[in-house]
Symmetry: D2
Amino acid sequence: MPATHDDVALKQLYADFAATGLMPLWATRDDLMPTVPRPGARPHVWRWVEVRALAARAGDLVPVGRGGERRAIAYANPGIEGEPYATPTLWAAVQYLGPQEVAPAHRHSQSAFRFVLEGQGVWTVVDGDPVAMRRGDLLLTAGWRWHEHHNIADSPMLWLDGLDIPLVAALDAGFFEFGPDEITDRSTPQLSRNERLWRHPGLRPIGAPVTRTSPLMAYRWEHTDAALDAQLELDAAGSAGAVEPGHAAVRFTNPATGGDALVTMRMEMHRLEVGAASKVSRSVGSSVWQVFDGDGTFELGRDVLDVEPGDVVAVPSWCDVRVRARSRLDVFVFSDAPVYEMLNLASPEGIRAR
Amino acid sequence: MPATHDDVALKQLYADFAATGLMPLWATRDDLMPTVPRPGARPHVWRWVEVRALAARAGDLVPVGRGGERRAIAYANPGIEGEPYATPTLWAAVQYLGPQEVAPAHRHSQSAFRFVLEGQGVWTVVDGDPVAMRRGDLLLTAGWRWHEHHNIADSPMLWLDGLDIPLVAALDAGFFEFGPDEITDRSTPQLSRNERLWRHPGLRPIGAPVTRTSPLMAYRWEHTDAALDAQLELDAAGSAGAVEPGHAAVRFTNPATGGDALVTMRMEMHRLEVGAASKVSRSVGSSVWQVFDGDGTFELGRDVLDVEPGDVVAVPSWCDVRVRARSRLDVFVFSDAPVYEMLNLASPEGIRAR
Amino acid sequence: MPATHDDVALKQLYADFAATGLMPLWATRDDLMPTVPRPGARPHVWRWVEVRALAARAGDLVPVGRGGERRAIAYANPGIEGEPYATPTLWAAVQYLGPQEVAPAHRHSQSAFRFVLEGQGVWTVVDGDPVAMRRGDLLLTAGWRWHEHHNIADSPMLWLDGLDIPLVAALDAGFFEFGPDEITDRSTPQLSRNERLWRHPGLRPIGAPVTRTSPLMAYRWEHTDAALDAQLELDAAGSAGAVEPGHAAVRFTNPATGGDALVTMRMEMHRLEVGAASKVSRSVGSSVWQVFDGDGTFELGRDVLDVEPGDVVAVPSWCDVRVRARSRLDVFVFSDAPVYEMLNLASPEGIRAR
Amino acid sequence: MPATHDDVALKQLYADFAATGLMPLWATRDDLMPTVPRPGARPHVWRWVEVRALAARAGDLVPVGRGGERRAIAYANPGIEGEPYATPTLWAAVQYLGPQEVAPAHRHSQSAFRFVLEGQGVWTVVDGDPVAMRRGDLLLTAGWRWHEHHNIADSPMLWLDGLDIPLVAALDAGFFEFGPDEITDRSTPQLSRNERLWRHPGLRPIGAPVTRTSPLMAYRWEHTDAALDAQLELDAAGSAGAVEPGHAAVRFTNPATGGDALVTMRMEMHRLEVGAASKVSRSVGSSVWQVFDGDGTFELGRDVLDVEPGDVVAVPSWCDVRVRARSRLDVFVFSDAPVYEMLNLASPEGIRAR
């Protein structure tokens, strides 16, 4: 507005603003309040073939230990300078735990999940409950719960770590506490106690408390796989159930409330039949996708990205997304959608209507 | 209060009240507003050996057909005169469907469940979705959903019907509609479509709607049994999970919300170890229990009732209850507890605190 | 169904049913499960001119005292035999408190309100907080709160008492406790403490607890009147706000939650302009209306009832209702609508959709 | 962890991480996940005497117009470099509208309020509803609602603008739209239409929709003042109601739900008696306070800040706060507390418990 105001008084005014800790809106309004979201984060793909190899090299070179805590290597969005963030709200990393390795206990207010890409033989002990980890499983570590990992196998294990670290950092809400330096529980039960209580469909254990974060902390691949198959079979038979033709999807939820399994992040698994494609969709908020199985393409705005198993894709806010399956395609996705729904920011018209 | 007022004026006043459609509180206050609940319904047990035999005789003598609709024989509380009600809010009946018999479609605003005592080979078709019925299963027919039954076996099948008929009657909220006279679907799939979508623990099918009544309409005995076993195993190992020592219990819930599977009724299955006993408890609201397996006793106030498999017990409002297991004891129970919780009537102190 | 089965075996079966405490559904299905609600309660009007006179005679003849507790005369629906119930869920009564009279403290799990028809000078002390009562005011006495009344005026005072007595009776949920025989607080503040905290629009006192029943216990006529006027002024100016043309209405709500002021009953005040009429509407559930000011008609199904100030009208479940104003008409109404909404019984299609 | 690993392989690994868009957790864990919140934002005070003078100078030098949109001068926290943010989630600014000036219509997904410090004679037109602004009033402009301002007075008007701009920016959820360049409505009603419908305590207009953001858009000082006085009077009389001795407070809420008036921000007014002090408290999340009337001190961690009317104080996350009143002290405060409550981040122990 006042770009041509170069007289002395105005210069002095701006200098006095600065000296007083003030900043005029009119000079920054357009940046502060864009007409549509203008995320710094970019649509981006990280190739598993590269990431896998680097993780293995880190396994050889970098020990896991107190302070660094985890051999987790973060997907850093090229549009978010200097921060190890996949999107402005979501942290995503590959974690690599070598044969017989351990990662000691800690807890933090950030919520976390693990989605297993490769291997088995690791147990994550959450608040004293040892949880087996196997390929395709989703494991939860909700905020402020103690957790440690130990690998009993002779092979490494790799998984996707998803956390709300950037959101919690933006909100100055982070708390962290170290646990013992040694692993507290090396037992290796096939089923964790939380699963024994909560994995029965529609059956609530009356003696167990109801919490906003899911008391069920392991979602096994066999169930996810069966649920997706069932949707596609129903779809093929002309019955309702799939998201759209050739596209099945499940959301990982808290069985005690039906809500998202974690308060700040939504996790889902999608399966597309050979040749199927999702509709183009667009959300306020961001997401991170990881191909679990199969090949296909991600259409992100004008970009078309070929993807293979293990590839990770970041989708910024308000970016058009379409997924196409070349072979049958299984994709895991996590997003910050619950945050926008709770804060009434999921769409501009929605803001008004509500 | 005015018991000695017998003068003419007062008599005339009462006569004029009656003529005008008025009734004075002071003459009825004590009955209207007792110091604690004084239910007409009584603690009562119906013996399966008797009920089973009568149901079989009805199977021989009484056809199932349009109008009467179902060969359901209601447990009529001896304290509730003239009404076929197990308690003031709950209808319970044994339903008997003979070999090859059918019961035609209808729907009603009353919510219903079936808990199977004996047999298999019946399918109940709910809103077009055929649901197999087997011993130990709980099947839902929420309000206003079409449903019909057909038996493909050469043996009869018996189950407990639970409905909120008395509640809906007291509220003048009943609607009923007849469907076709012939069975609409005679297919016999092992899994209903609703199960294929919703029986996966913690996994919500994204394409399916969320409703207050459970979209999962079958809770299979194998899951219930496993859930109860797991609680008792955890209990034996010193871990949390059981309701109290030697006492496991699950509530049948809506996986889309975590709430009760039906809006107006709560269904649970309890398992007590040999020799275990529940604490004495007392609720505002009533319940109906049916022994599924094992022997034991119900202590209801001062009454002690021995129970065997199939026996049905009615527990009125505010009656002390304790269950003791002679052998390992499995008991199904349904109650009106959600009604009292929603209406803030679950306890007098609770009313005030909230 | 088996009306022609008159053979010996069938007779014996029915006798054995009766002896065993069983009742067959097929003999009673039509009564138990009507196609639409068939309330016993009838549309009915009680004339204020008659009721007022009888209340005054009771004031002369019947003292208020311990046991009878209140000089409340209930509107007894002619379709509900032997019970002092206006509808199957709602109690309505005129209460008459003579000059200088008192009514001692008690409390009960039933929720109550008072809507003042005539007079002023009574204070109702609710949980130790004295609340002035004046014509047009709505005063709350939620469940299990101590309350007593005392009249400091030289004239009687008459108000409508509304309670959920029939509902609580049907649910066997009634608790009652006597307080001291003497009035505990004879102070007469213009504003009760709850009003001082909660009567400020949109302002929550941070130090006060939030409860399901309204912490605001007095809704003053001056506010109700102004709110209704404002809606009609906006309506006349072509702005939104009224319920329909010429028809304004407010609901009495809990300012801490926005929900109904009492959990089990909904209270509203409606104002119709001269000559205006409401649309015909029909609800599952019942209501009781009292004309506060003006003349008009109630069209209840096929009945057309002329009404004058003070007249009370009962509307059973599923009965068509239309109100017409001859002069400007103010009508107070209370209903059991929250119960049906919570229990998912507010409409048959609604049951299914949810 | 690997600070001494300086061999070639490790250097190459880190270089390859960077080239592949990866960042290792172990190098940044301590910054990413502090043991307690380490906000960049600092406790800070801006002096009204300085800010007022600068705003007036801006009034002389800088016109209000399209693009810059508003003569709003933001309080920029000295700990948040380069951004006009009072805290990481909250925008606060003084807005100055000169005699007869106008600010044209726009709308945005960010939610806003105005709290008036000085003057009167401005109307803000929100979605077509003109709302008068006067000293002490709180006015809402929830997300995506059109709004414009016009000053009919011969004196300027100054108010505090509060918005969730930083939060919405961090979430990439900002939408913005320009309205007409000319003011659309110059009418100057004493009461807006939303007030006429919604300012009646506890009375919901039945014909108006219920929304998450408050339909009441003006909270008048006379009500706020009276509510605070009442609490202190009750406190002085030994009755409950105040937050703590000598400390009254109200929260501005949505009368249709009882929740916060805006979804993402909490607004409150606090009043402390002469000599009173609040307890020390500490929150996860930040707040901005503005003295409305009176003198006192803010104790923020180890800092003690004297404050006078109009002074603005920023309180970062997890900072101890105590307010002391030298004279009777009225302080307006807004915060991001609802965000943390919804996201289950309001306290580390709370995260776990829920």
